[in-house]
Structures are given as C-alpha cells and as structure tokens.
C-alpha cells in the first residue's frame, strides 16, 4: 500500500487499519472444465464471496452495558443477522465490544420475561401467575394512590441501572416521595462527589484523558469502566503515540497488563500514594503556580480563628465575595478580580481584624509534613519509596519539560486573549478501585489535588471535562424532600437528589434524624448525592428510620449481586413480622426484562422489553455521553417488535403517572399529557421552557440545538443521524472550559449552566468545613452528639487519608487479606449469564491469589478454599498468579448465580462452581457505641465493597467440588419455557443462502 500521511501503521486508528487490501482477485486459477474424476480427486468449493448481509440496517444505541455505543443492527427477514459498531458514532467510532456483539443472544434469550406476574407462592420461590397488564396496572395504581394520599414517603422507588433517570427522578418528585435514587450510591458516588465538589466535573463519565495529546497516563483502580470502548480506543492511541501508561492496581490484568508500568498497590491506600506524590512535587517546587492562581482557590483567604464559628471558612466581603490578598494593593480584594496579584503564603489581618491565610499555604503546609514522605507511606501502600519518588519525578518531567502547545488562541473568562493553549500532558483516570472504599471521597479529592498542582485539568494533554461539565463546584440544586414538606398528594418542591452546601441542606428532622429511608443527606452521610440504594432493603426491613409500604424497584438485581450481604438481604425480603404474619416489607413491585434473582422476590413483576424493542433517551439531563470535544445525547429506537406481552418500563411509568393523576403526566381532566407514551414525552416534555430530554434538533423546524421549542419531528431527525446528536465545540472552546469565555457562553446557551462564570477548582472545600464546624458545635443545625467526632474527622476541607473503616474495625491479623472484585470485560454484572455466548467465557469464577503467598500457605492451583470474613464464609476454588498484590485476593464480579435463576439449568456452573463475594460483605459496620453505620464512605455514603478483609484456609477433601453457600433454587415463572439444550442460531441463514443460490442457478 502506498505511504499515506506519515506512517500509516503508527497512526492512531479508531477501528482498524483502513486497508482496502489488495485482496481483490478471488478466482480459483484452475481451469473450469472438470471431469468427474477431477471433481472427486481435486474438489473445488464454490465459496459465496458476496452473500447478502441485510435486508435492512437500523442504527440505535447499545445497552449491553452503560457505555452507550452506537450500533448498527443488520436485519434479514426481520431477524438479526449481526450487530456491529457505528463508525460515525462519537462514543465507539465503529468498534463494538463482546457484549455488544452478543446482543443477538440477549434478544433471543430464554430468560426473557413474557408477561406481568403476580406472586402465588412464598416470596423467593419464583411461583407466579401470569396476568394481563390491566390487572397489573390496577393493582399498582390502587396501592400507590393510597400511599400518595397518606404519606408518599412510604413508597421507595429505586431504579438501579436506570438510563432514564431524568424521567424516573422526575416521576418520583411528582409522586412526592424523597425515597428515590438510582445505583450511583453503591457504584461511584465517591468519584462523582469528590469531583463535583472539587472540579465541578469528575472522573466517572464526566471527563476523560486527552487521549490524543497525553504523554503520561496514571490509571487508578480501573478494570473496565463505563467508558469501556473509549478507554480502549484511547489506550491504543497512547500506545501508538509512545506515551507512558502507569496502572495503579492491586491486580495486573486487562488495562493494567498492557501498561508500561504496573504498581501493585495495597487496596485502600491510593490516597496516601497520591499525597506522597503531592509531597514530593511540593518539596521540589515542581508545581504549576500560575495554574493554581488562575483557576483554583489557592489564593483564597481562609479565616484563622481556631475555636471560632468562622474558622476555616473563606474570608468574604460585605457582599459575600470571597477575598484574596493582593500584593500590589497590599490588601484583601475580591478573589474574582482578574488583575489580582495574589499572595500564596503569609498570614494577613483582614480589615475586620480577623486573621486569614491563603488556601495554598494551608495545603502546602499539610502535605509537606514528613508523614506524607515516600518513606513514611511506602510500607502501608506496598510501594517502594524509590518508586514513589521516581513516579513523582517522571510526572514532573512530563508536565513541565514536555508541555503541549496548541497554536489556538482563546479568550479567558475575564475577556483576556491568549495566543495559544499550553498544557501539561499528564492525564489521570480513576474509578471504582478508588471509589469503592470508605476513604474514596478523600482519595478522589487527593487525585484532583495532584492534577491541579500539575496544572493538568482541562488543558491539552491532561484530563478534560465532557460537556455539560464543568458546572459550579459543587453544582446545584440542593436535595428536596423534607418529609411532610409536601402535603400528601403533592409533588416535591425539587429533585430528590442534589448537592448540599452545608448542614442547612440536610434532609433531617428537628431531632436530627434522617428523613430519607436510605439515610442519604443525613448527618450520617451528608453528601450522599446519589442516594444509598445498598441500604434501602436493610432499612425498610428494620423500619429504620420508618417503615415503608411499597418497594418499587427497576433494573437492579438487589436480591443478588448488587446487594452487600446477599444472604441476609434475601432473608430480609422474605422475613415476616411475627405479630402480624405479614412480610416486613409489605409489597414489592419490580420491573426487569429477564428472570433475575430479584424477580422471585417480587409480589408483582412488570416485564420490560429488551433494549432493541423500545425507545430510550440518553439525555444530557442524566449521565452524559459526549466527549471532551462536545456534548452529545442519543436515543434508542425499536429495532425489532416484542413477541411477548411486555411493555417498555418508561411507558408503564408514564401510564401510572396518568392513572395517579400526577400533574406532569396527566392533564387536569385526567387525560394523558403524553398520549404517545415515552416517545411523546421525549419529544414534548420541557423541564424548563426550551429545555427537554433531547438537545438536538429542537425548535419547530428542528434548527435549534440545546434550547428550543419541541420539534414534532425530533425523533425522525435523530434516526436520520444514527440516533445521536453531537455538537462539536469549535477549537477555541475545547480546553480551559472552566475559564473559557466562549465555552462558558456556549454552555449557558445550551442550558448546561446558568451564568457564564468561571468554575473555580476547590482545593479547600468550604462545604466540608461547614459540616465540621457544625460538629464542633457551631451553627443552628447540630448533629446528634454521637456523630460529632465522625463528622469532625471526615469533613476535612483538605484531602486526607485514613485507614478504610472496615480495616480499622476488625483484627487485621485475623483477616490479613483484602478481597476485591473486578469487572470481566465480556460480562455485564448479572446480565451476561443468560447469554448463550457470553456465559461460555465465564460460567464460573475462581478466587485468585499471589503465587508466593499460596506457596507460603501451602496452597496449590485448583485447591478448594474457604474465604472467611468477619461476616461469614464462602467456599471457592483457588487460582495462583503472579500479577497480584500479595495482600490481596480477587475474583470476577457477579458470575455466581442462584440456582434456577436466569432460566439456566439446575446444574449450571454459575450456581455450583461460581460464587459471589457479596455473601461475605456486610452493608453495616460493627456496632460502635450503640450505633451501626453503613459500611460506606462517611462523607458520601458510597458502599465500601472493596474494604472487605478476609482470611483463606484450605477446605477438606470432601468439601471440594462445589461452592458454598448454595441458595435455595428459584422456580421458573409461569409462562416461560425451559431453556433449549442446543443453540444453532444461524442455520436459517445458511438455509436461506442455499435456497437463494439454487434459485439463482435455475435462472437462465
């Protein structure tokens, strides 16, 4: 092939080498005429080189995981021939992962629910009667109406892996219950909150490394991530460009296996490692002071008044503007002034007589402390001090000696023109290895601190925001839902989830008790900004803080892999009050598309469609899918028609809204506001005038984007554009978005932020200090006494590191190992196991341990072992490996299944050789002075899955062969046929091809 621009195989490739290869000739060179003898001895196959591949292609958005790639579904005779990636799509640019390709087997899975189900047997048994939709909706409506008319909080509506949170959250608010959240609280709220309160954006899906320009990537605790395909595409681009990739992870598989350097850290210690890097950079004065001064609150003055009510708050002037000390004027001036020449170190007396110091000084003084020196943390982190020092030196080199310059002028928030964009090409990304620990919020803040010191946030080569981020740090609104605040039968005043700025925004009653069932936004978990789904069942069962009537779940396998302490949760779901004989959780409604473990515990099951059978809306009001180069949103559209009595959940929710007369869904006369169901809502609903679920092609004629009147043809426009909308930002808006005038104005126009004001990164977080002051006795709203020390400790306005709570709570010697899970790339939580192809990759899981440790313990590959935690023990098969931290054991997540679930055969390996670590995780910490806190981050309520500590001991010979515990089998719901014993999908295509060939050959 001719030389293209540069070296073609070194170019970053998105999907594959564009090799219109020289593979054109296809003729068999042998002569055509043959005798029977030749045909016998030298047969020649007639290969059909150009079979038809489709009658029709429909583009849509994948939902085999939350990455939301664009896919093309190729159909023949209405059946799926294959699904591939859409090359035009900004998320995946043509690639598709294994799950995505296996969508065919999801669509034809025998585990699909077939009709609404009403429980007939005991909970958990899977005994149901198939009912019609009218009966199902009537049952729910009657129940919910009674709740709404009396005490709406008695409905707990939690929606798991929901991708329509802008609808479900809105519905909950309309219903009037504060008890709403999706899965974020047990997933990655530490990343979300840590980022939002610091940068107004976050790792998770709200930002991404500058894959094109980064020279150095630090990847903290990532196995797969929500950004599955973008990260993989990005890693290959870094590889191609010769950047260095460092994987910080106790386990060396997947992304970490291809990293240039693997740092096998001890779980839960990344914060300490990051702060040691901070220490080194500060010590060597390798920090970007200009960046700190321009874009962070480093120069802001903090009041120094130990023991006073204002200690640690920002110094403000009479108009409430934060002050900084201007060197030129030698006085405190509003920090927002563009011409500021700020002081960074030095204590100053304010005009009102108080003393104040810049944030920078407080920060630098803390981390220069020898307790953060590499030597001091090496042992705890399991990383040699030289390594820490070397990494600090390498990132300093790349940041300051290899800066990236884009010759692109831009204008900052103050209207000043800059000739070029200069960036420090050290990028970072972090996920659940950081967030799933009880110190994850602060660890995440420590990583952001590190980025800010290097000046690498939203700069070329650094980590970049994905619009609609950045938003103010933290963004609004505050959570709504004081109990009794709305009169029964009325909507909430706002959204049930939000970002508190201080104690005044907590959802607690006069006595300081939680208002929400999950205790989010209480004194126990003040910044639980995504709610705490992992506590819902436990609290509902205990009636703490109050009993509920109905638990309404959607798309969350709470009776299995998404609960901590699965066995206990299953017992709570089936537990009855001895006094009344009633279930303690009186009524459970669940919407799933498949026969999951949770289905068997529901009283009423509302069967959903598959993702290829319905409309969906991936909205900017929810989790964004855009890239750093511009915002995007997307839809899913029905590609095949359901062959069962199932309905899209969103339609059902809207229908319930109409039946209940919720003002957003029903007209005053009781008729439906969106008679066309969800697609009608997607197009015509407006959250604020001009702002709706989809940003693309708004306005009557479809010419407006971001804001605009509803466009009746909007869905058509989306479908014409492969089901997504993306607005590429012009080059001058692509970096420094937090302070880029043109970008900020665009963001206002598109409805992302209210005012075109810069987003100032918060090294010192004042909201945290407000909680701390409350704990110290200041302010009107006061925590209960037993919570004061906890709040005072963990609401540190600067990032800190502490031993994960569970590590501290138990004897470390008795449970010497950390036990963690990893996402397997080809499986999505529990959904993969009913997929005929994916389950062949992982039908069971083993527990992995370092070979060195195994040898020391006298254990061998394939041995059966007990994994004991303070909360129970499970039995599994052991595998030894090299690339794992010596103090850590791990397994693939969510492979183990309950026998009978997912329409798998009774002897499926998932049930007998697979296991869940969740059986020995606890959602509660041990009793401390009469209180049992959730096993969660004390700031955000994030479930601390990876704090688990275990001991491993060999199982006896007669215990070998099967995992333990074995849950009682669950039955196959009425109306579902047992799964087939052979799958030869594709035979029909062969038959069809042959038929066609025969027909063709008959034609003259």
């Amino acid at each position: 092939m001719a030389d293209g621009p540069g070296d073609p195989h070194d170019l970053p490739r998105f999907a594959f080498d564009p090799q219109p290869t020289e593979v054109s000739g296809s003729a068999d060179p042998r002569p055509r005429k043959e005798s029977w003898w030749q045909r016998f001895t030298a047969p020649r196959e007639r290969v059909e080189l150009s079979p038809e591949v489709e009658d029709e292609v429909k583009t849509t958005t994948c939902y085999m995981c939350a990455c939301r790639c664009g896919v093309k579904v190729h159909l023949q005779e209405g059946r799926i021939r294959f699904i591939d990636g859409n090359r035009n799509h900004p998320v995946n640019r043509g690639v598709i992962c294994g799950k995505g390709s296996a969508g065919i087997m999801q669509q034809y899975s025998p585990a699909r629910l077939r009709s609404p189900l009403l429980r007939t047997g005991e909970r958990g048994k899977g005994e149901f009667r198939a009912i019609g939709w009218d009966e199902a909706l009537t049952i729910v409506t009657e129940r919910l109406r009674r709740i709404r008319d009396t005490d709406p909080a008695r409905l707990a509506f939690f929606t798991g892996r929901d991708q329509s949170q802008s609808l479900t959250g809105y519905w909950a608010a309309q219903f009037g219950t504060p008890n709403y959240a999706a899965h974020g609280g047990f997933c990655s709220v530490n990343m979300a909150a840590g980022g939002m309160y610091t940068l107004g954006g976050s790792f998770w899906e709200f930002g991404e490394p500058d894959w094109e320009r980064a020279r150095y990537l630090l990847l903290f605790g990532v196995a797969e991530d929500h950004d599955s395909n973008p990260i993989k595409i990005g890693l290959s681009r870094l590889k191609a460009s010769g950047a260095k990739i460092v994987g910080i992870n106790p386990v060396k598989t997947g992304y970490n296996a291809i990293a240039d350097e693997w740092i096998g850290i001890r779980p839960g210690t990344d914060g300490l490692f990051a702060l040691a890097l901070v220490h080194e950079l500060l010590k060597a004065d390798r920090i970007d002071l200009d960046y700190l001064v321009r874009y962070t609150n480093a120069p802001w003055l903090v009041v120094r008044n130990p023991g006073g009510a204002d200690d640690g708050l920002f110094a403000r002037d009479g108009q409430g503007r934060v002050l900084a000390w201007d060197r030129d004027a030698d006085t405190a001036v509003p920090a927002e002034r563009a011409d500021l020449s700020p002081l960074l170190v030095g204590e100053k007396r304010l005009p009102d007589g108080r003393f104040a110091v810049p944030v920078f000084q407080l920060m630098a003084a803390r981390y220069l402390d020898p307790s953060y020196a590499p030597e001091a943390v090496a042992e705890r982190c399991g990383i040699a001090a030289e390594t820490i020092r070397r990494i600090a030196g390498e990132i300093a080199h790349v940041a300051f000696q290899q800066q990236v310059v884009i010759e692109q002028p831009w204008t900052d928030w103050a209207g000043r023109r800059h000739d070029r964009m200069i960036g420090r090409p050290v990028a970072m990304h972090a996920m659940r290895g950081i967030s799933a620990h009880s110190n994850g919020f602060h660890t995440c803040r420590a990583l952001h601190l590190l980025q800010l010191l290097l000046g690498s946030v939203d700069v070329p080569g650094g980590w970049r925001y994905k619009p609609p981020y950045p938003r103010p740090a933290p963004p609004g609104p505050f959570p709504a839902g004081w109990r009794g605040e709305p009169a029964a039968g009325k909507p909430l005043a706002g959204s049930p989830l939000g970002y508190p700025l201080g104690p005044e925004h907590l959802l607690v009653d006069a006595a300081g008790r939680p208002e929400r069932l999950d205790k989010a936004f209480s004194w126990e978990y003040p910044l639980a900004v995504h709610g705490m789904l992992h506590m819902v069942i436990t609290n509902a069962w205990a009636g703490d803080p109050y009993p509920i009537d109905t638990l309404f779940l959607y798309m969350s396998n709470m009776a299995w892999n998404s609960s901590m302490h699965t066995g206990a949760v299953m017992r709570m779901l089936t537990d009855r009050d001895p006094a009344t004989g009633e279930y303690r959780i009186p009524f459970i409604v669940y919407s799933d598309a498949f026969d999951s473990e949770t289905v068997s515990f529901a009283d009423l099951v509302l069967p959903d469609t598959t993702y290829l059978e319905r409309w969906d809306c991936i909205s900017l009001l929810d989790r964004p899918i855009g890239s750093a180069d511009g915002p995007a949103d997307a839809i899913r559209r029905p590609v095949v028609a359901p062959d069962r009595d199932v309905r899209p959940f969103q339609d059902v929710l809207i229908e319930l809204g109409v039946r209940l007369g919720l003002p957003a869904f029903a007209n005053p006369d009781g008729s439906a506001r969106y008679p066309g169901g969800y697609p009608d809502y997607i197009v015509n609903h407006q959250r604020q005038p001009g702002l709706g679920p989809l940003a693309g092609w708004r306005g009557r004629d479809g010419t407006e984007h971001g804001r605009g009147e509803p466009n009746p043809d909007q869905l058509e426009r989306y479908m014409e554009n492969d089901c997504f909308w993306m607005q590429e930002l012009p080059p001058e808006q692509r970096f420094f978005k937090h302070a880029n005038k043109d970008y900020l104005e665009t963001a206002v126009r598109l409805g992302f932020i209210e005012r075109a004001e810069p987003v100032v990164h918060q090294l010192w977080s004042e909201p945290l200090q407000r909680f701390r002051l409350a704990a110290q006795g200041f302010g009107e709203r006061q925590p209960p006494d037993h919570l004061r020390p906890r709040i005072a400790t963990y609401f540190d306005p600067l990032p800190l590191w502490y031993e994960p709570l569970e590590h501290e709570a138990f004897d470390q010697a008795a449970y010497p190992l950390s036990a963690i899970t990893q996402r397997p790339m080809p499986m999505y939580h529990s959904w993969g196991s009913h997929n005929a192809w994916l389950r062949q990759i992982y039908a069971h899981n083993d527990i992995f341990m370092s070979r060195a440790l195994g040898v020391e313990l006298g254990l061998a590959n394939g041995d059966w072992v007990w994994i004991a935690s303070p909360h129970g023990r499970i039995k599994a098969r052991l595998r030894l490996m090299e690339g794992v931290n010596r103090h850590t054991v791990w397994t693939w997540n969510a492979i183990g299944k309950r026998q009978g679930a997912w329409n798998l055969k009774a002897d499926a390996p998932e049930a007998h050789q697979g296991f869940l670590l969740n059986h020995i995780i606890n959602e509660l910490l041990p009793d401390r002075g009469g209180a049992r806190f959730s096993n969660s981050d004390p700031v955000t309520g994030q479930a601390a899955w990876y704090d688990l500590r275990v001991a491993i001991e060999p199982a006896t010979a007669d215990e070998a062969g099967e995992t333990s515990p074995q849950a009682e089998p669950q039955g196959l719901p009425a109306g579902m046929a047992p799964s087939p014993s052979i799958n030869s999908y594709g035979t029909w295509l062969r038959t069809r091809r042959r038929q066609r060939a025969r027909e063709r050959s008959k034609q003259p």
């Binding site: 001895t41 598989t253 062949q840 039908a843 069971h844 490996m881 390996p909």
Partner: protein, 314 residues
Amino acid sequence: MHPAFSIIFFTTAAGAGYGLLLLLALLGPAGLLPDSRAFAVVSTGLALGLVAVGLLSSVIHLGHPERAWRAVSQWKSSWLAREGVAALVTFLPAAIFAVSWALLGRTGAVAGASGIATAIGAVVTVACTAMIYASLKPIHQWHNSWVLPNYLLLSAMTGAVLLNALLHLWRAGRPEFDALVLVLIALSGLAKEGYWTFIGTIPAASTPETATGLGRWGRVRFLESPHSEPNYLLKEMGFAIGRKHSVRLRLIARTLGFTLPLLATVLALGLPAAALPASLLAALAVALGIIIERWLFFAEARHTVTLYYGATTV
C-alpha cells in the same frame, strides 16, 4: 488425546486382523497350515471379520459415515486416504485368497499370488494406519520413528498369537509357530519398551514458551482459559492421564500384552499338554493387553494445543 473407544477398537481389531491375514496369506498357500477347510474358513473369516468390524467401527466414528466413500480421494497427501485405499485394495486379493485358499482349499499359483498380494496389502494398510499417527507433528508421542515398527510388529504379533491359538485349537500346533510367536512377542515388547523409553526421555520441542513466543520474559504460565468450561479442543485433545495411573496401566499392558503371552507360549512350547489352554490364554491376554496398550497410546499422547490450556509440557 482422547482415547475414543471406536478408534482403539478399530486399530487393535484391524491390526490383529491384518496380522492374522498376513500370516494366513503367506503360510496358507505355502502349505504350512493345517489342511483343514474348517480351519481355513474360521481363521480367514476371523481375520477378515476383525478387519471389517474394525473398519466399520472407524466409519461409525465419523461425523458423516454416509460420506465415508469420499475418504479415499486424497491418497496423494493423506495417510488416512491411503489407509482407506490400501484397505479397499487389499480386499481384492484378500477375497481371491479367501475364495481360493479358504473356500476352495487351493494352494496353487492363484492362491499363492493373491496371498502375497494380500500380505503386502495387509502390511501396507497397517503401515498407513501407523503413519496416520506418526505423521501428526503436533503430537510428540506419535510423531516419531517408533510408531511405525510398533504398529507393524504389534499387528503381526497379535495376528500370530491368534493364529497360534487357532492352531492349537486344531491340535496343529507346531514348535516353529510357538517360536515365531515368541520372537514376535519379544520384538514387539522391545519395540514397545523402546517407544516408552523414547517418550519418557526425549522431550517435545514445543513448550509454552514456543507456543506463545513469550519465553523471552521468563517461564510462561497459563493464567486464564478462553472459556471457563471445557471446549471441543480440550475434550478431544486435552485428555490427560495421571503419572501413577499411566505407570499402573503400562504394567498391566506389559503383563497382559507381552509377559503373560510370552510365558504362556513358552509353556506351550515346553509342555505340549498345556499348549491349548496356554495359547488361548495368550490370545486372551494379548487382546486385553493390546487394548490397554492402545488406550495408553492415545491417553499418553499430548497435543501441542494443550500448551495453550495450561499444560507445561507435551
């Protein structure tokens, strides 16, 4: 390699059949066998029967037995096709031989010539069978020069032991035959020992390091399988036999296949009164012993594909 019963049965039965046929075809027309129609019919029938049943069992083993006729088309390259051709071709002289010698009791030129042709055919067919295995480069335990002599000798030996039993049954035992049997058993035993020593001492060239090309980073260890449950490759080629098990089975194969028949034949030679039971015992022992030997031939064969599934050697 998975020891499929149909194949074990095929190679042992057909091997014995061809061995017997070889001896009958050479000795019969030469007038060295009892002049008994019954003997000729029974022995030739047994030989052809063993061959036919063996071939049948190998056909049944196929995914598409109805297409078995196609299996002769590629004699230019395929030992399996050559075996098929040889087997089919051998039937022609064998049929003439069977009719002329066994049915008509002739020992003249027709029987002699067809006998020689049959004998050649039998040897060629057994050699082709051996070469099917010996030509498979991925299997160190097969791809070596011990396999061909082993197959030929074992075929001749099993045939000879059978023939000897038949002779004694017809009270036509002869010390020369007993001696021939002894020689064949001894040679076969030596060949088998040589084979076992070879596979026990000469390592395969392929290792996890060559299979993956990753040896430059040190010892290569298998971490994860492509599929958590066994697939076709593992079921077909991943059969592994424990060291202890293999030692025990070799002992049984040695005892039943060689030692016992050897002793029995010595007994037959030395104690004519015991010749009949001894030669019958020898035949029985050989049958069992060689089936075990053949089972081991498969079970001890390790395919290079297992290097991709955790095997450290093949």
